[in-house]
C-alpha cells in the first residue's frame, strides 16, 4: 500500500509540474510583458525595457520557468520584489520563502494575500453546493434506477436532463428574474458585503442554487445508469429469491454495488465546483476564486494565474487519489495488497 501511495504522490507532483509548465508556455502568447504590466500603461517604454532587463525577461522559457519554480520553493528571492527594481512591491513575509507565489501585477499585492481569501469564499459556495448535490443526486439516481422506464424514472429523468441543459448563466438569469425582480425575495448580487442589507446566508442562496441545478442532474444520471446496471445483475435475483423484500435488497445488496462507480464521479464534482464556478461568480459578483482566475487570465497576471492553476490541479489530483482509494475500499476485487 505504501508503495502505491508513493507512486501516486510522485505522479501527482509530475502532473502539477507539467500543468504549471503548460500554463507558463501558453501565457507566452499573451500580449504585453510582465514589466509593462507591473509598471502600468503610463510608464515609458524606456522604463519598461529597463525593468525587463532587470527581470531577465528575455531568457529562454525553461530558464524563466525554473526561476519561477525556484521562487515558489523558496530557493531564490522573487526578482519583482528586489528593492532596486523600483516597483515598491513588498511582501510582509519576505522576498524568499517556501510557497512564495510571487507578486500579482493585477492586484498590486503579493499573490498569497489574494488567493487564499478568494479560495475560502469559493470553498463556502462549493461546500454548500456539494452538500446539496450529494443527497439530491443519490436520491434521484436511485429512485430512477430502481424501476427503469417506470413513471417515476421518466419524471425524474426529464428533470435531470432538462437541468443539465441549463448553463449557469442561463439559470442565473432565470432565477434572478424570478426571485429578485418579479418576486423580490433574494438579493441580486452576492458580494458578501455585510452592510448591503441582505444577510450573508441569503446572499448565498441563489449562487448555490445555480450550481446545484446545473450539476446534480449529471451525477443523478450517472447514478441511475449504475443502479440500473446493478439491478440487472444476477446477485440481485439471488437476494430476491432468498425471500428479501425490496428495502432489504436495496440496502443490503444494490446500494453498495451501485455507488462504486459514481463515487469517483461525485468526487470529481468538487473539481468542477472549485473552478467552474467562474460564471456563477460573475453573474452574482461573488468575490471568489473563479473570478480571480478569469481576471488573471484576461489581464495576463502570470503569477496569480500560475498559482491558481497549481491550486486547482492540486485539488484535482487529490480528489482523484481520494476517489481511487475510496474505490478500493468499496470494491474488494481491486484492493492492492
Amino acid at each position: 500500500m505504501t508503495r502505491f501511495l508513493c507512486k501516486r504522490l510522485i505522479m501527482m507532483l509530475i502532473t502539477m509540474l507539467c500543468a504549471s509548465f503548460l500554463v507558463f508556455t501558453v501565457c507566452e502568447f499573451s500580449p504585453g510583458s510582465v514589466a509593462r504590466k507591473s509598471l502600468g500603461p503610463f510608464a515609458t517604454q524606456q522604463q519598461v525595457d529597463l525593468l525587463s532587463k532587470k527581470l531577465r525577461a528575455t531568457d529562454p522559457l525553461p530558464v524563466r520557468y525554473s526561476r519561477w519554480l525556484g521562487v515558489l520553493l523558496g530557493v531564490i528571492p522573487d526578482p519583482l520584489q528586489a528593492p532596486d527594481s523600483g516597483l515598491n512591491f513588498t511582501d510582509p513575509r519576505g522576498a524568499q520563502y517556501f510557497g512564495n507565489f510571487g507578486y500579482s501585477t493585477l492586484n498590486k499585492l503579493p499573490v498569497n494575500d489574494v488567493i487564499w481569501d478568494r479560495l475560502k469564499n469559493t470553498a463556502v459556495l462549493a461546500g454548500l453546493a456539494f452538500a446539496l448535490i450529494v443527497p439530491l443526486s443519490i436520491v434521484f439516481g436511485i429512485l430512477s434506477g430502481l424501476k427503469e422506464g417506470g413513471a417515476l424514472d421518466r419524471l425524474l429523468s426529464v428533470i435531470c436532463i432538462t437541468f443539465t441543459s441549463i448553463p449557469e448563466f442561463a439559470s442565473g438569469v432565470f432565477l434572478v428574474t424570478l426571485f429578485v425582480i418579479l418576486w423580490p425575495l433574494l438579493p441580486g448580487t452576492s458580494q458578501l458585503d455585510p452592510g448591503s442589507g441582505w444577510s450573508i446566508p441569503s446572499q448565498l442562496v441563489l449562487p448555490v442554487a445555480v450550481l446545484v441545478i446545473y450539476d446534480f442532474g449529471y451525477v443523478a444520471r450517472m447514478i441511475r445508469v449504475s443502479m440500473i446496471g446493478v439491478m440487472e445483475r444476477p446477485f440481485i435475483r439471488t437476494a430476491i429469491l432468498k425471500g428479501m423484500n425490496t428495502r432489504q435488497v436495496i440496502f443490503g445488496h444494490a446500494l453498495r454495488n451501485a455507488m462504486i462507480a459514481p463515487f469517483t464521479v461525485l468526487l470529481l464534482q468538487i473539481n468542477f465546483l472549485v473552478s467552474g464556478v467562474v460564471v456563477t461568480e460573475l453573474v452574482f459578483a461573488y468575490p471568489g476564486f473563479g473570478r480571480l482566475l478569469l481576471d488573471a487570465s484576461l489581464f495576463g497576471d502570470i503569477a496569480t494565474l500560475e498559482a491558481a492553476t497549481l491550486v486547482t490541479v492540486a485539488i484535482a489530483v487529490t480528489t482523484q487519489l481520494v476517489g481511487d482509494l475510496g474505490y478500493m475500499l468499496l470494491d474488494p476485487r481491486i484492493r492492492v495488497k
Binding site: V26, F29, I166, A170, V173, V283
Partner: protein, 289 residues
C-alpha cells in the same frame, strides 16, 4: 466439390432485419431531441432567405420601447437590434462551430484511444498519463486560459475544444477497444494477414459507433454551453457574429427592467442543448442491445 453429407440444409435465419436507424423512431425522447435540433438547423440554414430584420443594424425608433411588438417579435436589445434575427443568425455560428469542434476532437480522441487500447504497453501508459494531465485541468480553466491567451476565433475554439475533449473521448474509445480486441473475429482477422490499421478501422471502429455517436451528441451540447459561457465571459467570437452568450452578457445590466433581453437568448441555448441531450439519451435507449 460436392459434399455428400447427411446434415440437412439450413435455409432460414433466426431473426428478421431491423435497421439500427429505424429503432430511433421508436424512442420518444430521441424524436423530441431530433425535432429540437432540426428546428434550429433548418432555421439557421434558411436564415439568409427568411424575412428577418437585420441582426446588426440598430432600430433607433424601437429603443424607446424595446419590448416585443409586431415589428420585433422578440423585442430589441439594448442597442436596438432585433433579438429574433440575432438569435437566428447566432444559431448559424453555434451550429457551425460546435459540431466542427467536436468532430475534430472525435478524430483526435478516437485515434488516441485506439492506439492506446490496441497496443497497450508503454504506448498506452504514455497516452493515458498525458490524458490524465489534461483531464486534471478543470475544463473551463483550460478554455479560459487558452482563449484568453491566444485570442477568440473559430479555429482557436476548435483547437481549445480538441485539447479539452480529446482525452475524454480517448478514454472511452480505449475502454471499448480493450474489450473488443479480445473478440474472436479480431483473432480471425490476424490469421488472414490483415494489418493493424485495417483491424482498427474495419473491425474495431464500427463496433464503437453506437457509444461514440451518443457521446458526440452529449459533447456537442456541452460545447454549445461552453461557447455560450465564453461569450458570457467576454471571450466570445468577435462581432459581427451575434453571440448568444454575449447577448446574455450585454443585457444583464438591464435585467431589472428588461429581463426578456437576457431570458430569450438563454432559452435559445437551453432549447438547443436540451435537443442534443435528449437525442443522445434517446439514441442510447434505442441502441441498447
Amino acid at each position: 466439390m460436392a459434399l455428400e453429407s447427411t446434415v440437412p440444409l439450413m435455409t432460414t435465419a433466426k431473426r428478421p432485419a431491423r435497421a439500427k436507424w429505424r429503432r430511433i423512431l421508436r424512442s420518444k425522447t430521441a424524436l423530441i431531441g431530433l425535432f429540437l435540433v432540426s428546428f434550429w438547423v433548418v432555421v439557421a440554414a434558411l436564415a439568409p432567405i427568411l424575412p428577418l430584420q437585420s441582426p446588426t443594424e440598430p432600430d433607433v425608433m424601437a429603443m424607446a420601447n424595446p419590448f416585443p411588438s409586431a415589428a420585433h417579435w422578440l423585442g430589441v436589445d439594448i442597442l436596438g437590434r432585433d433579438i429574433l434575427a440575432r438569435l437566428i443568425f447566432g444559431a448559424r455560428t453555434v451550429l457551425l462551430v460546435a459540431p466542427l469542434s467536436v468532430a475534430v476532437a472525435m478524430a483526435v480522441g478516437i485515434a488516441m484511444g485506439m492506439v492506446a487500447g490496441y497496443y497497450g504497453g508503454w504506448v498506452d501508459t504514455l497516452i493515458s498519463r498525458f490524458s490524465d494531465i489534461i483531464l486534471a485541468f478543470p475544463v473551463l480553466v483550460l478554455y479560459v486560459v487558452l482563449i484568453a491567451n491566444i485570442g477568440p476565433s473559430i479555429i482557436n475554439i476548435v483547437i481549445a475544444t480538441t485539447i479539452a475533449s480529446a482525452p475524454g473521448i480517448g478514454r472511452i474509445t480505449r475502454g471499448l477497444v480493450l474489450g473488443l480486441k479480445q473478440q474472436e473475429y479480431v483473432a480471425a482477422a490476424k490469421l488472414r494477414a490483415e494489418n493493424t490499421l485495417y483491424i482498427m478501422l474495419v473491425e474495431l471502429l464500427p463496433n464503437c459507433r453506437g457509444m461514440l455517436i451518443v457521446d458526440a451528441c452529449l459533447r456537442i451540447g456541452y460545447t454549445i454551453i461552453t461557447i455560450g459561457i465564453l461569450g458570457f465571459l467576454g471571450l466570445g467570437l468577435p462581432p459581427p457574429n451575434p453571440d448568444w452568450g454575449g447577448m446574455v452578457k450585454e443585457s444583464t445590466t438591464v435585467l431589472n427592467v428588461w429581463p426578456f433581453m437576457s431570458v430569450e437568448p438563454s432559452i435559445a441555448i437551453v432549447s438547443l442543448v436540451l435537443g442534443f441531450n435528449l437525442l443522445a439519451d434517446g439514441l442510447r435507449e434505442a441502441w441498447k442491445p
